[in-house]
């Protein structure tokens, strides 16, 4: 009994956690008529047509590629820009180092809604509003506090002897960074990559106020347009939702270890 009760309680909460996903899958495998009948979980006439239709006729494949591009380039940008900055903060003495560092961390307290409007005005002036670059640049900057904190700590944790030895061999900062420190910080880089990829993949607010051109839509926006159509039909919406969540779930399951470590680390900071 003492073993069964906790396990039972946990399984109940697992069901709660899975609840909307179960219905998402159920809806995605129903056809247009069956979804209107409502109610039952297991489709009576399970069909792959809804998914196939959403994927090709509703162009979700294109939107998927757009999402992949925006997310991929954001992750790349974050890793490049903030590993350089993190290395400088950790290893190189320069006047103003602490001040600049704390500026980045203070960015953590700025709510995204406060900068959302001026950001779109600025991007309009720069001519990048509505492009993928107009999404990627603010996404990269938004990750600054987390990435700078974690990478600075990661580089600091690497023994200084390595730096001294490399300097004695005549290597410059760039070589030391690229050849010695970056490879050693790999776990942190992966963690930051995952912690950036997931919210970027799901991002909706800035995307919605930026993108107009349908050919540039990412999955969240495509899903929203699908749902706000004249006759929204939940089987297609659920199929679109499934296409959106499956990649992040796969990513999460594959890199769970980094995710879990990173989150605890991020919150502690």
């Amino acid at each position: 009994m003492r073993r069964i009760v906790p396990l039972l309680a946990l399984i109940v909460y697992a069901a709660v956690s899975l609840y909307p996903f179960v219905w998402m899958v159920s809806g995605a495998f129903k056809d247009r008529l069956e979804i209107l009948e409502g109610g039952h979980l297991i489709p009576r006439r399970p069909t792959l047509d809804t998914l196939a239709d959403t994927w090709s006729r509703l162009h979700f494949f294109d939107y998927f590629l757009n999402s992949l591009q925006v997310t991929g380039l954001t992750v790349l940008g974050v890793l490049v820009v903030y590993s350089l900055a993190g290395y400088a903060f950790a290893m190189i003495e320069f006047p103003g180092r602490r001040v600049v560092f704390w500026f980045f961390v203070a960015l953590l307290f700025v709510p995204s809604i406060t900068v959302l409007l001026p950001l779109t005005i600025l991007e309009n002036k720069l001519g990048i509003l509505g492009t993928h670059a107009g999404l990627i640049l603010p996404f990269v900057n938004g990750t600054a506090p987390l990435a700078v904190l974690m990478l600075t700590n990661a580089f600091r944790a690497i023994p200084l002897d390595l730096h001294d030895a490399a300097t004695a061999d005549g290597a410059g900062e760039w070589r030391i960074f690229w050849r010695v420190y970056l490879p050693l910080a790999r776990p942190t880089l992966i963690t930051i990559g995952v912690l950036t990829a997931v919210p970027t993949w799901n991002e909706y607010v800035l995307t919605r106020v930026s993108l107009n051109d349908e050919s540039r839509y990412t999955l969240p926006l495509a899903l929203e347009r699908l749902a706000s159509g004249t006759v929204p039909s939940y089987n297609e919406i659920m199929a679109g939702s499934l296409i959106l969540v499956v990649p992040v779930i796969v990513l999460f399951l594959a890199l769970q270890r980094y995710f879990v470590n990173g989150l605890s680390g991020a919150v502690k900071n």
Partner: protein
Amino acid sequence: MAVTTDSSVAARLVREPRRTTRSRQRGRRALVGYAFIAPAVVLFLVMGLYTLVYSFGLSFAKWNGFSPSWDWVGLDNYRDLLYADPRLAPEIRGAALNTGIAMVAVSFGTVLIALPLATLLNSITRLRGTLRSIFFLPYVTAGIAVYYAWRYVLEPDGAVNLALRAVGLGSLARPQGFLADPDTALATLIVIMIWGSVPVAMLLYLAGLQAIDPAVIEAAALDGAGAVRRLRHITWPLLVPITVAIVLLGLRDTMQGFQIFLIMTNGGPAGHTDVLGLKAYQQAFFQSLSPTLGVASALGWLIFLAALLLAVVNARLLRGQR
């Protein structure tokens, strides 16, 4: 002029011999340092600092986004939001109240579920990894797709209503759907937000519980401390800082996040789920040609100030614990 030039040359001549190679090296290293942080700083200045300063300026003006110039109005936008505007001020007050309710309910609801969940999860060995992965799904998928799935099950004829009727709790079912019913809309969103924030909280508690040395608990048990006393004097004190962190995180995220409100109810029915972030968003992007961009910026800054206040409280609490 000539005199000053001479003296500075002289000064340089005097200083030059003393300037060691080390200090020159330090100068070069500093340049390397600046080169390393340059991309991050440029991005920060443009995307971060510029936008903040811009919105601060705009919060003292009226502008519709198209007319060539701003009309400076001083503190009027802030006054309008807080009390002066007979239509806007009550709306903002209502939204602030809803935001406050959601902040408190989400934070405490999260602790109430996550703590027992983590304790139970820590007590088993079989299935622990699998269950933890499942519990984590709401976090990784947080966003529009899951909100649509919730909307689907909360429809008038959706799964939740049907399930309630099927188990004889039909009186709890909402014929209009949970999100269209003024009595349940906000509470429903709060439940979904708790559902979404339990994973991280559970993970933090789990990490805290696993950091407790079992030898300490064993020793206490040998000394005759019962389960309750062990919980009160050993486990709980270690979990207090984690709880504080979770509550503050919940307060912050709920105050700033309005995505779920935007997607699931857009403030409806009749303003029952209006929150501050959503109001700022609507003032900024959905007023077509009315000059509301200043008010939107002012509201953004009020939210920012509230966030800073929360951060100060956070720092105080953390210092108090150390």
